[in-house]
Symmetry: C2
Subunit: 430 residues, 2 copies
C-alpha cells in the first residue's frame, strides 16, 4: 500500500545535499509512518562530472532542466538554486507540467509569488515554501496551520543568521564590524559577497513572505523598509548596553486596523527581551496573536540539514494534500479588497548618538529642538567633560519616524554639533 | 460556496468561553479565508440557568449530552471538561455518531488514547488534541506536520504553568513554597486543590502525549517517572544559583536507539539555557531532531484565549481534512513492532545537598562513598565552619540513577551525616 513518489531536485549545493542525506537516513522511517517512498529521480547540477559530498547513483545527475520538468514520472520538484534567474523559469515550467513545487527560494517567492501561485492553482498542483523563511523553524506552517484562529498584529524576528552572528560577536568581543565579517566569511557563515545579508535584502525577502501570510495581505518588497548593519559600531553597541539594550537586525511587521508597517533595520531591544537571548547564527520569530498572545519560535535558520528538514517536511505535506493543495488569499488582491495602507511614518523609540562641542547650553539647545518637533526624551547620557568634543546620547519616547528625522536634520545644522554619529530605532516591546 | 459547520461544545468554563469568544470575534475572518462558517449549535453545561461571562443565544445551552451527540446537524464536538469521567464516555459517544472530536483533555488522551483513536478510525472521523499539551503553543502540530523528516531524540519542556510560576517566584523573591502557592491560588494561577499541578500529574499526562508522537511509540503514563515540586526549598534554589543553575519542573524525554526515558521532576538547568529564560506561567518546549537540530517553542501554556486558539485551529484543520483524517502509528503497537525498552536507570548529573557534622574527614569519607558507587564529583560547596552542623553540597558528573540512589542511601547511614536535605537532578544539556 506504500506509494513511490519520484522527486526532482534543482541544485545539489548545501541544501540539496541536506535533502539527499535526510531522505537517505530517514527514508525508511518516513516510509513506515507515512506510507511514502520518497525517491530522488533526477538532480539538476551545472557540472555532472564534479565530485560530490554524497554518493549519488549513476544516471541521477543531469545538466538539463528538461530531464526533470518533462519527466512524467516526477511529481514533485524541489528547488534551492536561489535567485530569480533561472529559478523562476524552471519553477513555472515544472508547475505547468503539473508538478508540485517545494522551494527554499525567498527571493523568487518575494518577487513572483502571485505569478507562481496562480500557475500552481491553474494546474491543480501545490507550491510550498516553508524553507524560504527561517530555515528549519516551521514558522510558515505555524502561521498557516496553527494560528488561523488569530488576528496576528505583530511579528518581530531575527531571520538572518549571518547578521545575528556578526552583531552578537561585535557585542560580546567588542570587535569592529569589518573584523567580524572577515571571520564570518572565513568560517562560512557569510558569503564571499555578503551584500544580501549585511544590507538586509535577505531579511527583507523573508519579511515580505512572512508578513503576507500573517496579515493575509500581499506585502511587496517595495513596502518593506530596509536598512543593513554596516553602519553599526562597537561604540553604538556599548552605549546601548549601558542603557539596557541589545542590538539585533530585526524584521518587524505590525498591523493596526488597516495600517501595516514592515521594516528591517538594526534595532535596540531590552536585554531581558526573549529575542535578546538569541545569539550567534540562531534565528527566532516572535508573534503576537489576539487569542494566543505572545508566541516565539527559536531554532536554526540556515544550514544544510535544518533547511533540508523544512524541504522534506513540505514534500511529505504535498503528498498528503494531493488534490487539495491550498492557495493564499490576500485581502488586497481579492475581489472584496480591503483598503490597506502601508505606513512609512511609524512610531517607535529612537537612540540618537551625537558628538558635540563641550560647551554650556548644548544639551538645552538640542533638547529644545527635539521638543519643537514633538519628540519627547526618555533618557540622556552625556560623557566626559573639559574635552573639545564629547558624546551625547538620547533615547526618545515613542515618536513618529518623520518627526525624528526632521528633528535630527535640524539638530545637525547647529554649529556646536560635530557629527550625528548614528540613529538606531528601539523596540521596547510595549 | 461557504459551508456552515455546526459545532457542539462540551463545557463552558474558562476554555469553552475562550472558544466562544474567538468564534464571535474572528469568525468573519475565518469565513473569509477558509470558506467556513463555524457555528456553535449547542453547549453542554451543568446548569442551564446560570449567568455566563458571555452572552449566549437562547436554546444553545443544554444539560443533556444527547442534544449534542444525537444531533445529526453537528459534525464537530469540542471537549474541555477535563478528567476521565464522563469525558471519555461522551467523546466515545460522539465518535460513534460520526462526529469529529477536538479535545483539550490531556488526562483522557493520556489514559485512553488507543481506544479513542481506534473508535475515531472505525467511524472515519478525526480526533484532534493540540490543546491538550502546552495550551496555545502549537507543539503537537509542529511535531506531526513540520518535523516528520526528523528522528527526534530529545524533548525538554516546561509544560505546567502553575509550577513554573511558583518556582520562578520562589527563586526571584526568596519566598517559601507554601507562601507562593497560597498567592498563586488567590490569583487563580493554581487550583483550590493544586495536587495535579504541584505533584506533576498534569505534566506527566502531557509528556506521555508529547513523547508518544515525537518517538512514534506509545509512552503510557506508567512509563513516565513523576516527581512534584513540594520538596523544593529556597535553600536548594539559592545553592543552585551559586552553582550557576536555575530550577524548573522539566518534562524530559530522550530516545537512544530502542531505549526511551521519560521523566518529570524538578531539575537544575544552566542559567544561560534558553529554558531558564522561561518565567512565570509561560511554557516552552525544547526539541532536538537529527535534521533540524535544536528548536524551541515558547508561549502561553494555558488560559481561555490561548487554549481556545488551539481548539479553533484544530476545528479548522478538522474541516480541511474531512475524509482524510490521519491516525497515529506507534511502533510498539503496530504489527512490525519494535522492541522498545523503557529505561528507568537513566544517566544524569545530580545535585546532592546534605547537612553534616562539622568535623574533619567528613568530606573525604562521603567523597569516598560516591567513588565506591562509580559516581564522580564535579563540584563541592562546603559552607560555614566551627558550627555544629554545616551544609555540604555536591554536584556529580553524569551518573546512573540507581548508582546515585544507592550511594546516597549509604552516605545517609554515616553518623556524621545529620540529614540528606535534597537530591535534585541536573540537565546541563550536553
Amino acid at each position: 500500500m506504500a506509494e513511490e513518489i519520484k522527486i526532482g531536485l534543482l541544485g545539489l549545493g548545501n541544501v540539496g545535499t541536506g535533502v539527499y542525506k535526510i531522505l537517505l537516513e530517514n527514508g525508511r522511517e518516513i516510509f513506515h509512518r507515512e506510507g511514502l517512498e520518497l525517491k530522488v529521480e533526477k538532480i539538476l547540477v551545472k557540472n555532472v562530472g564534479r565530485k560530490r559530498a554524497v554518493n549519488i547513483e549513476q544516471g541521477i545527475l543531469t545538466d538539463s532542466i528538461d530531464d526533470i520538468t518533462d519527466n512524467p514520472e516526477i511529481s514533485i520538484v524541489a528547488e534551492f538554486m536561489g535567485g530569480v534567474d533561472p529559478a523562476r523559469e524552471y519553477i513555472l515550467k515544472a508547475l505547468k507540467n503539473k508538478k508540485t513545487v517545494v522551494t527554499a527560494n525567498k527571493e523568487v517567492m518575494a518577487k513572483h509569488w502571485h505569478e507562481l501561485e496562480r500557475v500552481a492553482g491553474e494546474n491543480g498542483v501545490g507550491l510550498y515554501y516553508e524553507a524560504s523563511v527561517a530555515g528549519g523553524i516551521p514558522v510558515i506552517n505555524c502561521v498557516r496551520e496553527s494560528l488561523q484562529a488569530n488576528k496576528i498584529d505583530k511579528i518581530m524576528g531575527i531571520i538572518n543568521g549571518t547578521t545575528n552572528y556578526i552583531l552578537t560577536k561585535m557585542s560580546d568581543d567588542g570587535r569592529a564590524f569589518n573584523d567580524v565579517l572577515a571571520d564570518a566569511q572565513r568560517l562560512g557563515y557569510a558569503e564571499p559577497d555578503p551584500t544580501a545579508d549585511i544590507e538586509a535584502y535577505d531579511a527583507m525577502y523573508k519579511l515580505s513572505i512572512l508578513s503576507s501570510i500573517a496579515f493575509h495581505t500581499r506585502v511587496h518588497i517595495d513596502n518593506v523598509y530596509r536598512e543593513g548593519i554596516t553602519g553599526i559600531t562597537v561604540d553604538d553597541i556599548n552605549y546601548g548596553k549601558e542603557l539596557g539594550y541589545a542590538i539585533r537586525l530585526l524584521a518587524i511587521a505590525k498591523k493596526r486596523g488597516k495600517a501595516i508597517e514592515t521594516r528591517v533595520h538594526p534595532t535596540f531591544i531590552p536585554l531581558n527581551h526573549p529575542l535578546a537571548a538569541v545569539k550567534d547564527s540562531f534565528n527566532a520569530v516572535f508573534i503576537n496573536g489576539d487569542a494566543v498572545g505572545d508566541l516565539m519560535l527559536y531554532g536554526r535558520g540556515a544550514g544544510d540539514m535544518p533547511t533540508g528538514s523544512a524541504i522534506v517536511s513540505d514534500i511529505i505535506a504535498a503528498c498528503r494534500n494531493r488534490g487539495r493543495h491550498r492557495y493564499s488569499t490576500f485581502y488586497n488582491e481579492s475581489v472584496a479588497s480591503e483598503d490597506i495602507v502601508f505606513d512609512n511614518n511609524w512610531e517607535t523609540e529612537f537612540f540618537v548618538r551625537l558628538t558635540v562641542e563641550d560647551r554650556p547650553g548644548v544639551l538645552a539647545r538640542i533638547a529644545g529642538i527635539f521638543g519643537k518637533y514633538g519628540v519627547s526624551i526618555a533618557s540622556v547620557i552625556q560623557k566626559g567633560h573639559n574635552m573639545k568634543e564629547v558624546p551625547l546620547i538620547f533615547v526618545t519616547h515613542k515618536a513618529k519616524e518623520l518627526s525624528l528625522k526632521n528633528a535630527v536634520a535640524d539638530i545637525a545644522l547647529g554649529a556646536d554639533v560635530v557629527r550625528v554619529e548614528n540613529v538606531i530605532r528601539v523596540e521596547s516591546g510595549t
